[in-house]
Amino acid sequence: MTGTTTRRKPILPTAILVLGAIYCLFPVAWLVIASTKSSGQLFGTFTLEPGTGLVSNLRQLFTLENGVYLSWVKNTMIYAFGGAALSTLISAMAGYALAKFVFPGRETFFRFLVAGVLIPAITLAIPQYFLMAKIGLADTYWSVLLPCLVSPFGIYLCRVYASAAIPDEMLEAARIDGASEWRLFWFVAIPVMVPGLVTVFLLQFVGIWNNFLLPYLMLSDPTKFPLTLGLYTLISQGNGQTTLYSALLVGVALSVLPLIAIIMFLQRFWKMDLISGGVKG
């Protein structure tokens, strides 16, 4: 738009947006400040005044139960990166098949898969737990990873993106050149689908990182917990035991800041119009 620079900018829109920004940033700022306070300072000094307890809080956090915090960090990485990567691949294969092939049962499969969006996590998680327990998978990494691998919404987005982005002529040309269907998928379809796949990966990544209910049901061994569950166990132990609070807060800050940095960096690669309905299949 060319008119924007010359047009006078009234104060109200900026003021409203800045208020929104302060509302959204304030708790994070508070968290960073609070994590520098010793437990005495946490309850004694003004909330926005930095304390002197950062080093001792970190020491307390990392020595907690033989350094279990580091296991939580490692586990979260395994669940979030592993789960998101595998589920994106599975969604890409399914989405590509549904978008670019005509075969009997296509629409039925698609409707079936997408209807999965409507089933609440808890309705699945309870029987999933009992079934996992039956085959001896409860309280293993698989019990948290496997349920994250099918993403109905991811499959839906991949189908929409594949049908919008991959021209049929491109596939036909490669087939005439004698490329196998497998090569076609990896070397023709996947490269074209990358922007859509990044979006699907990020949605899954954040979804798994945020997941609480599923690991809460599946896991009992604290060394397999992701961060969300680990931090929850700290706050529920901390009830009355306020010396844990300062270690907890530094743990929360350390778990949140890298994720904010990753999202801020990666959000420019998002194809948000995929979600808002701008890309038409």
Binding site: T14, A21, A34, T47, L118, I126, P127, F212, V252, I263
Partner: protein, 297 residues
């Protein structure tokens, strides 16, 4: 093109879907139709057995006072969360799109930051911001001579809970709506501006109607997410006694399934919640569709 190719490509998704969606769903239905009943044996001792009980678990779930009260609380909470989240997200998206504000990039990113904060973490953070001993609100009020405010008391608990979720979901909804606005062809806006349409009229008369499908989508997701609210109240329940272990329906289901050892009752409740989610989604989609058709007519 071989005929089997699409089936090979679909196979991982379908196999996992069958194992992790269909099988658990069928198993949940199976569990919900069973119950443990004490059968009289010849020895005179009662032995608990698992037997088919039909819809008994459903009828007891529907008469369960705690579950019912949980749905009531969830309803109040949803009436606070959904309109405020959607309203603010739309307002921010329209303001960003109007190009009438300074620092649009900074404010957009800042409002999006909470998306990166998991619900559990947000619950812990806000929990401390509410806790009278650590809250900045209480600190400031103490200078004004107000000492008895407790944001975690029953008086404030809906607002406290709603605020955590609004804070966490505002940015994502804003970005989806903003992207939807950007996707509209600029000629439409230019024509309206030439006709002397002001910025506010433009937003209400042109932009919002254009965006209705995207709004319907964010509303639907908001509704589904609200019905499944679990992390935030569970975290707060560790910090205050105001939130009981049956505060929201999902918490009651968890309690039956894992704390009190009544998996059959829990399965019936979980199926009822799934049914409620689907009905709510269909009704929401219907309402949106009929509005859209009326507008188009």
């Amino acid at each position: 093109m071989r005929r089997t190719t699409p089936y090979f490509l679909l196979a991982p998704a379908l196999v996992l879907f069958a194992a992790l969606f269909i099988a658990p769903l069928v198993y949940a239905v199976y569990l919900s139709l069973q119950g443990s009943r004490v059968a009289n044996s010849n020895t005179g001792f009662g032995v608990a057995r698992t037997v088919f009980v039909g819809l008994a678990n459903y009828s007891s779930a529907l008469r369960d006072g705690q579950l019912y009260a949980g749905f009531e609380r969830l309803g109040i909470y949803a009436l606070i969360v959904i309109p405020i989240t959607q309203g603010l997200a739309l307002l921010f998206a329209l303001l960003l799109d109007s190009a009438r504000s300074r620092m649009p990039k900074f404010t957009r990113l800042a409002i999006f930051v909470p998306y990166a904060v998991p619900g559990v973490t947000a619950g812990i953070m806000w929990g401390f911001l509410y806790l009278p001993q650590t809250s900045p609100v209480n600190y400031l009020l103490s200078y004004l001579g107000v000492h008895n405010l407790n944001l975690l008391s029953s008086h404030w608990i809906y607002a406290a809970l709603a605020n955590i979720v609004i804070w966490g979901s505002l940015g994502f909804n804003m970005i989806v709506l903003y992207t939807g606005l950007r996707a509209a062809p600029p000629e439409i806006y230019e024509a309206a501006v030439m006709d002397g349409c002001g910025e506010i009229r433009l937003a209400l008369r042109v932009k919002v109607p254009l965006l209705r499908q995207t709004i319907a989508l964010t509303m639907l997701f908001s509704l589904i997410a609200t019905l499944q609210t679990y992390s935030e109240p569970t975290v707060l329940s560790a910090m205050t006694t105001t939130i009981s272990s049956t505060f929201f329906p999902l918490m009651t289901v968890y309690r039956y399934g894992f704390s009190t050892g009544q998996p059959n009752e829990a399965a019936a409740m979980a199926i009822l919640i799934a049914a409620a989610t689907m009905i709510a989604s269909f009704v929401a989609l219907r309402v949106v569709r009929s509005r859209t058709e009326r507008r188009d007519a």
